[in-house]
């Protein structure tokens, strides 16, 4: 039987965290197995092939493509600087020569005698990957990267913008259903990860950007304000490559929605601790959710690591979150899972769950519920 419930977002207090850190192309890995790493430490690097410039020497010198090799001053493989002579005609008795200079510094990669094109490849672009989280190297992926192991809290958001960042957690909202306002954010928060309650307005987020805040974690944000943040209308939820100082992680959804109790409590307990945050989201097959990782430093390791990482389905007694209106954002307990299809107000026939929210019972489609994964 196909399951229709949505696997929940993880809110784990003390779990084993494995992070794969992989280069886009093969390169060299500098970390060794077992070594302790800090978030900013470079663990692998490589060179991306440089950009390519094509110069049509045949056209520029007005010669046949088949004659291009004869006018070339540089062979395939030779290094060339910007404005160096690339090709030159013999001219008439040594006069009236025409020439082509290289538009960029690089290496001559190919010379075509069919089209007269010369390909010059610029210097490679170095790419480095850091550890992103504090932990130890668990595995080396040969020439590609490492897997870093850490222990600590792991919180997934539903949607985010901005890439990887890190900073100390600072809880600013007094409760999970209060707003994170612009007045609360000051330049003292530079480099920190701020935790709000149910909402952050566009103005407040802009203030966070201006104050160089590393990240913001809140319950909700307005969808229509994203356009100003991103510079375009977000059509499909694929983010992470934006150049934003402040990564934003929304834990519940669009609008003003109080942050989940577990999420807020866990972040509050972690106040002042160093965390890594990533707003990158991809809602497609192979989903990527934004995350906050708060490693436990050696000193505070308490040994009661929760190993139950098994993903269980929705059962009687499961804690669930309603993820679509009505009752959006509310948390309830599953009381009953009737097998037969039930008719909704919309007349859609669906499998439902009877859930208890604050002492009242509601019949809600199972696909509109999310199991809250807590430890």
């Amino acid at each position: 039987m196909a399951h229709s419930y949505t696997p929940g977002l993880k809110v784990l207090k003390n779990t084993k965290i494995l992070k794969e850190r992989r280069l886009p192309l093969k390169g060299s890995v500098s970390a060794s197995i077992g070594s302790e790493v800090k978030p900013d430490e470079i663990i692998a690097r490589t060179d991306l092939p440089g950009n390519v410039q094509m110069v049509n020497v045949a056209n520029l010198l007005n010669v046949d493509a088949s004659d291009v090799k004869q006018v070339m001053l540089m062979d395939i493989g030779s290094k060339i600087d910007k404005n160096d002579l690339l090709a030159e005609t013999k001219g008439l008795f040594g006069f009236f020569k025409s020439n082509v200079k290289s538009p960029v510094a690089g290496t001559v990669e190919s010379i075509s005698d069919v089209t007269g094109q010369v390909v010059i490849r610029e210097a490679p672009l170095p790419v480095e990957i850091d550890a992103y989280i504090q932990g130890s190297v668990d595995e080396i992926i040969e020439n590609e990267g490492v897997v870093i192991k850490s222990k600590g809290a792991f919180i997934q958001g539903i949607f985010g913008v901005g890439g990887e960042s890190r900073g100390k957690i600072k809880v600013l909202a007094s409760s999970r259903d209060s707003e994170l306002t612009a007045e609360m954010i000051t330049s003292d928060h530079e480099g920190m990860i701020l935790v709000g309650g149910n909402f952050i307005s566009l103005d407040a987020y802009k203030k966070a950007l201006a104050c160089n805040v590393a990240g913001v974690v809140v319950g909700g944000f307005n969808y229509y304000d994203l356009e100003e943040v991103l510079g375009y209308t977000l059509g499909v939820a694929i983010t992470g490559s934006e150049d934003l100082v402040t990564s934003l992680v929304v834990t519940e959804g669009y609008g003003k929605i109080q942050m989940g109790q577990q999420t807020y409590d866990l972040l509050s307990e972690s106040n002042g601790r160093l965390a890594s945050i990533n707003g990158a989201t991809q809602i497609r097959a192979g989903v990527i959710r934004p995350e906050i990782i708060i490693p436990i430093s050696d000193a505070s390791k308490n040994g009661n690591e929760n190993k139950t990482e098994k993903i269980t389905g929705m059962t009687d007694g499961s804690t669930v979150r309603v993820i679509r209106s009505p009752n959006f954002g509310k948390i309830g307990i599953v009381k009953e899972l009737p097998a037969e299809l039930r008719k909704m107000e919309s007349e859609t026939m669906v499998r439902v769950a009877i859930i208890d929210i604050d002492g009242k019972q509601f019949e809600i489609p199972r696909s509109n519920l999310e199991v809250v994964e807590i430890d």
Partner: protein, 605 residues
């Protein structure tokens, strides 16, 4: 040879669907179906797991033994197993291609048509004259990482320079395939045959180059079939081989695995040919909307990659604009709240509308997604033929956007809708109305929905190459399509012309099978439904002066039309459809039309 039983699966990105077709009482019928989550991704990473789970569900429901340990029993032995097993696939994002041609509106367009017809998503069309500088093209190729590239350009024996230049750009970009790092990217060359050796010299070391017949051997001839076949072959040989578990799956099937949309297209093409009709088929999914059409015996397919009902729902909003979505909503709603709701559907794509208000909003968005996809389709389905076409030189220069669209709404005979929002709408009236509002059919048009989206499986069945079973599988596919796949909604009769000028734009006289007669005067702006099942109804349609219902302005029609689960719908709202710019007028119109069709009976006044 009669086939006793056929098992067919469709491995989608999220769900694998299995259907069992059996030969019972002298006909082929769909008997059981099952589904299970697709298992391409971690932790399973083996597509056959999902296939077996879906087949197991069929096994449980039917009581027929289909599986033996971890494999499907073929052919049928006694009462267990099935005679043939076939499958389609769109898992892992389907087949993503990049195409290149020398002239964007000529070989570029032909290459795009070949790729789309084969069922792929075209990520970009590179052309010598597309206005981008070589380094921009190179950057683009590198960013996109397609599964396959189709390179074309030049007529046979013509100048080779431009197409070789494109090959050099490809070589400089040295594109890497999307899946797997250990194989070379498949590139199909279907251009000027004189350039073949230069192309081979440029690309054969860097890519897995395959050469096939020129897509445009001469200027006035388009030859897409060899490229389409080659794309299917390479899809099997390379792309599918990289996807987890497909090697095993391929060894099970009795026919090559087809990309899902390619199979749907093949079926629609066949139905149109058999019935000699014009057809529009649409599949609206979570991320994309596919439109297939056959007009004047020419097949076309387009994929609107970012128009869908969940993953790309916000893009529908962005492209259509909020006001266009709102024009289908028969109540007032705060605009900011509406955008947040739509945003939340994007980030929680599997949720379903629980309240009626939410359902109405989703169906409003569906109308816009369908409308926009159809606009794109009309612009692409221009006067060119899918397989091969002889044209004069003068035609050959008119094949870009300026080419006449093949889509003629008056000529259209049948619209088939599929995809969750259409197939699973709580009321069939809602599906019919969505199809009418977004496609705006003119004259007489039949409406149908695919009950459980089995067109992909039927498409592969209809295209089995193996001689011993090909014909019978085709027969089975068509029989099941007619009897079990299509749900006939009814017929829409929509007169066009200056509706407001006539008091009664259309007079209708109907005679039902039981001899009962009915006359209707269709007023301008009115929508009338006549409830009658899927049976013949004699219709006399008398349009007023200046009004056309299919035979020309003011020309009367005597014909047979069919009812269905919704019945006959007479649409006097005119074309294009104006819902009213004033909010009160709009809401009143929408409510009036909804009530005529009993679309949302529970909607509070």
């Amino acid at each position: 040879m009669k086939l006793r039983s056929i098992l067919a699966t469709d491995c989608g990105s999220t769900t694998t669907k299995a259907i069992l077709i059996e030969y019972v009482d002298g006909e082929y019928r769909l008997t059981y179906r099952g589904e299970a989550p697709t298992t391409v991704e971690a932790p399973f990473e083996d597509v056959t797991r999902g296939v077996l789970n879906a087949a197991m569900e069929v096994e449980e429901l039917s009581g027929r033994k289909i599986l033996d340990d971890d494999s499907i029993i073929t052919p049928q032995k006694g009462d267990s197993g099935v005679d043939i097993y076939i499958s389609t696939s769109s898992a892992g994002g389907g087949l993503q291609m990049m195409v290149a041609g020398v002239v964007k509106s000529m070989s570029g367009e032909s290459a795009e048509r070949a790729a789309l017809g084969a069922g792929s998503i075209v990520m970009d069309v590179l052309a010598s004259n597309d206005g981008r500088k070589p380094h921009e093209k190179i950057t683009r190729i590198r960013q996109l990482r397609p599964d396959m590239i189709l390179l074309s350009g030049g007529v046979d024996g013509g100048t080779t320079k431009h197409v070789v230049e494109l090959a050099e750009i490809l070589a400089a970009a040295n594109p890497q395939p999307r899946l797997g790092q250990d194989y070379k990217l498949p590139v199909i060359y279907a251009g000027n045959n004189k350039a073949t050796s230069d192309i081979e010299k440029t690309l054969s070391d860097l890519t897995d180059l395959d050469v096939t017949e020129n897509i445009r051997p001469v200027l006035e001839k388009e030859n897409l079939k060899p490229s389409r076949d080659k794309i299917h072959d390479l899809f099997m040989e390379h792309v599918m081989q990289q996807a987890p578990g497909y090697k095993k799956l391929m060894s099970w099937t009795d026919a090559p695995i087809m990309p899902t949309p390619g199979a749907v297209g093949a079926l629609i093409e066949m139905v149109a040919k058999k019935e000699n009709i014009s057809v529009v088929g649409v599949d609206i999914g979570g991320a994309t909307t596919d439109i297939f059409s056959v007009f004047q015996e020419q097949f076309n397919r387009t994929v609107s990659a970012n128009l869908g009902m969940s993953y790309s729902i916000c893009n529908v909003l962005a492209e259509a604009s909020l006001s266009n979505v709102l024009r289908w909503v028969p109540f007032d709603i705060d605009e900011k709240e509406l955008t947040n709701r739509i945003g939340n559907k994007m980030i929680r794509p599997t949720t379903v509308p629980q309240s009626l208000e939410e359902l109405v909003i989703e169906q409003a968005i569906a109308r816009e997604a369908l409308r926009l996809s159809f606009v794109q389709h009309k612009a692409f389905a221009v006067n060119l033929k899918g397989v091969q076409k002889e044209r004069t030189i003068s035609d050959a220069f008119e094949q870009s956007d300026s080419g006449q669209s093949l889509v003629d709404m008056m000529e259209l005979d049948l619209i088939v809708g599929s995809g969750g929002v259409l197939s699973h709408a709580p009321r069939r009236e809602q599906s019919a109305k969505m199809l009418i509002d977004s496609f705006l059919p003119e004259g007489i048009t039949s409406l149908a929905v695919d009950s459980i989206f089995m067109m992909p499986q039927l498409g592969v069945m209809a295209n089995i190459d193996k001689k011993s079973i090909a014909e019978e599988a085709r027969v089975a596919a068509l029989e099941v399509f007619e009897k079990d796949c299509l749900i006939r909604l009814g017929t829409c009769v929509a007169p066009v012309g200056s509706m407001s000028k006539s008091e009664v734009p259309l007079k209708i006289n109907l005679e039902f099978k039981n001899g009962e007669k009915k006359s209707i005067d269709l007023q301008s702006g009115e929508l009338i439904r006549v409830e009658v099942g899927y049976e013949e109804v004699k219709a006399e349609l008398i349009p007023a002066k200046g009004i056309n219902v299919g035979a020309g302005k003011g020309e009367k029609i005597d014909t047979i039309i069919f009812g269905g689960q919704v019945g006959l719908i007479f649409d006097g709202r005119g074309r294009p459809l104006d819902v009213g710019s004033d909010p009160n007028e709009r809401i009143s119109n929408l409510k009036k039309w909804a009530s005529a069709l009993n679309e949302y009976p529970e909607l509070k006044e």
